[in-house]
């Protein structure tokens, strides 16, 4: 009796590991092995095909001497900062407004969430046309009689990156709204009632009590949106294809064109490693703080 039990026990002990093994293997090979391989390539002289030699940091020097890469990095920061702030602000505002027990909330929620169902390619193509001065907003407003109205940011190298922010915010703010709304629904009503009895105004209740209580929702939104902004590739490709000139180049489009169109595999690998480090700089402290809290029993 005791022996049989110990076999099942042992099996039960091993089962989770057995079940996890294939996916663990897939992740080790498919992610970490290729990260290591990319790191190796970035230290080699690879051009069209991988070369397994060692040239030190030469490709990194070359990368940082490329003006297009500087544009790409600057664009990543401009895009991420604006995209995160505006999406969070718009999403939070919509969530708070929807949370006021309004009519047809379900329908409105679906409408705001709907852009999320589109791929970035569709969003990008649509916004490319909407923002084209000869086809979109500018033409419509001019046609209505305001002849001097100009809205041609997408053709201006200094402003084109902001048009990509507009499209990305349009696409993602509904998603931020959904997460915030879920967070708001999880807040106990009695807290709000207590504050009301104390005589606090509604804006004050939101600013001092409710928004701070949404911290977990904020964290999820920030992490998810920052990874959307770093992997942003299809939106740029569909909307501006990196143009005008190379004004809206981002690290991911830079990497693709280096490896597959310019025969600069080493430079492409170096740019990929730089992107990885950027992501790590954001994710590692976050993971660290999360894991630390776990250990304290939260």
């Amino acid at each position: 009796m005791a022996r049989r039990k110990s076999i099942t026990d042992r099996f039960a002990d091993w089962l989770p590991r057995l079940v996890l093994a294939p996916s663990l293997l897939a992740v080790i090979v498919g992610v970490y092995l290729f990260i290591a391989w990319t790191g190796w390539i970035s230290l080699s002289s690879s051009k069209m095909v991988p070369q397994y030699d060692f040239v030190g940091l030469e490709q990194y020097y070359r990368l940082w001497a490329t003006p297009r890469w500087h544009t790409a990095v600057a664009n990543l920061f401009i895009f991420s900062a604006l995209f995160l702030t505006v999406t969070i602000a718009v999403g939070l505002l919509m969530a708070i407004l929807l949370d006021q027990n309004i009519r047809a909330e379900g329908a409105l929620r679906a409408i705001y969430l709907y852009p999320m169902a589109l791929s970035f390619i569709v969003t990008g193509t649509a916004w490319k046309w909407i923002l084209n001065p000869n086809l979109g907003i500018q033409k419509v407003v001019n046609g209505l009689g305001w002849e001097s109205f100009v809205f041609n940011w997408i053709t201006q190298p200094d402003f084109a990156i902001y048009t990509i922010v507009i499209a990305a915010v349009w696409q993602s703010s509904g998603f931020a709204m959904a997460i915030f709304l879920a967070g708001l629904r999880g807040i106990d009503n009695s807290v709000i009632k207590a504050a009301q009895i104390e005589g606090a105004s509604l804006p004050r209740i939101y600013a001092s009590i409710i928004v701070p209580m949404l911290r977990p929702a904020f964290l999820s939104v920030i992490v998810l949106l920052s990874y959307i902004s770093i992997k942003n590739f299809d939106l740029v490709l569909a909307m501006t294809n990196g143009g005008p000139g190379s004004a809206t180049e981002v690290p991911s489009t830079f990497m693709f064109s280096s490896v597959f169109r310019r025969n600069q595999m080493g430079v492409g690998a170096a740019s990929a490693i730089m992107m990885l480090m950027t992501v790590a700089a954001i994710i590692v402290p976050y993971l660290y703080s999360e894991l630390k809290e776990d250990r304290h029993g939260h």
């Binding site: 069209m48 997408i154 053709t155 190298p157 294809n241 143009g243 005008p244 310019r262 600069q264």
Partner: protein, 417 residues
């Protein structure tokens, strides 16, 4: 039971298809031709191959001007499973043959005397050392101007003889309410204009020094500044809505008469012909204006990978023969809008633009004004060619001085070396 019935079905099918008597060997061909006319042109090769008893297994990877195809090829080669043949542009074929994965076609070349039929300036793109490694099917010209005849008449202008004339004509066209030049902001479209300017202003020798040999002196010269100065004037001929405009959309603007001209390779011709327009009466085609006219070529060629299957190897021979077959070259190019890569063929039944191109090619071969189109990879290697595109495009869309552009060019080329 299920096995039996599927065996029955299989044998019935086999009977039905057994008419060509033997099992057909298929050769897989990786290419990026996916548009309607391109596929129709490919069918001429496919049919000629079928007549020799070999099948064509289509492996089309469109998108990103062949960028996606390159990605597909790399993974196939890495897996040790290369396709039988592949379409090459620019240095791709030579680069891959230097990696030792291409088969040479020397025996076929000797037996058929192919090299003598190919323009000498094209040979470096199909020959690695002494080995012929690819067979060219067609030749496009990159430096054409496509113009709307009615728009020219309305503005009262004739075909310009120099870029200065073309730019002056632009003002007349604007006065007539017509956009002088249709173009998109994609770097390669701007680079097509840049390439044309380099040889039209500096001459073919300057083009070779700057865009092929990457000679620092030529890159840093006053002539190069002059090229950028002219490019700045060309910018003034373009409307504001040029962002994200596809080349075919720009061609459409010339067809509609909304714009007067487009500088583009002769793949644009198909758009005019498809609308039933006639060269000479409805639209004009002429080389980019210069006192030193050049023929900037772009060719597509097919190269064969080393394969282990002897049947596929035979199919490769058949495919190479088909590609160099005079009738196939004739039929293929009639549909594709290009001219045959072989210089020894008649083009009497081609349209007037193709005839013009054919004649001007012969002149250019004589006067050594036959140049590889840098935009499409027929001058410097892609890492350098892309720098020209970057700088030309940045200059075109920004307020940048010609001096700064030249500096950017010199630095960019040095960095890519």
């Amino acid at each position: 039971m299920r096995k039996l019935s599927s065996a029955l079905i299989a044998s019935t099918l086999a009977l039905a298809t057994a008419l060509p008597a033997r099992a057909e060997t298929k050769i897989e061909v990786l290419h990026h031709w996916v548009s309607e006319s391109e596929v129709a042109a490919l069918n001429t090769i496919r049919e000629a191959l079928a007549a020799k008893g070999y099948g064509w297994q289509d492996s089309a990877v469109g998108g990103m001007s062949g960028g996606n195809m390159q990605q597909a090829l790399r993974s196939r080669l890495a897996a040790g499973n290369p396709p039988g043949a592949m379409q090459f542009i620019g240095w791709e074929g030579i680069d891959w043959s230097s990696e030792g994965v291409m088969r040479d076609l020397n025996d076929l070349d000797k037996a058929n005397g192919w090299q003598a039929t190919i323009a000498p300036q094209v040979l470096p793109f199909v020959k690695n050392g002494d080995n012929l490694i690819a067979v060219p099917i067609n030749m496009h010209r990159q430096n054409w101007v496509w113009a709307n005849k009615a728009a020219f008449d309305k503005a009262g202008i004739e075909q310009p003889k120099t870029w200065a004339e073309l730019i002056a004509d632009g003002e007349k066209l604007k006065a007539a309410g017509i956009i002088p030049l249709a173009i998109g902001d994609e770097p390669w479209q701007i680079q097509v204009v840049f390439d044309a300017l380099v040889s039209d202003i500096g001459g073919p020798d300057f083009y070779r020094k700057a865009l092929v040999d990457l000679d620092p002196e030529a890159l840093n010269s006053d002539t190069m500044k002059q090229v950028f100065d002219t490019l700045r004037q060309v910018r003034g001929l373009v409307d504001d809505g040029f962002n994200g405009r596809d080349w075919a959309v720009a061609t459409g603007m010339v067809i509609d008469g909304q714009a007067a001209m487009q500088v583009m390779g002769d793949w644009a011709k198909g758009e005019f012909l498809a609308k039933g327009l006639k060269p000479g009466t409805d639209f004009l085609c002429f080389a980019t204006p210069s006192e030193t006219p050049s023929f900037q070529f772009v060719i597509d060629s097919f190269g064969m990978f080393k394969v282990s299957d002897p049947e596929v190897s035979k199919a490769q021979v058949a495919l190479a023969e088909v590609v160099m077959d005079p009738k196939v070259q004739h039929d293929f190019n009639l549909i594709k809008g290009s001219i045959p890569a072989r210089t020894d063929l008649g083009v009497d039944d081609f349209d007037d633009c193709a005839k013009k191109g054919f004649e001007e090619r012969a002149t250019a071969i004589e006067s050594n004004a036959m140049l590889g189109g840098a935009t499409h990879g027929f001058a410097a290697q892609p890492q350098f060619a892309a720098v020209f595109g970057d700088v030309a495009a940045q200059f075109f869309v920004n307020e940048m001085s010609s001096e700064d552009a030249v500096q950017l060019l010199v630095d960019g080329i040095d960095n890519a070396r």
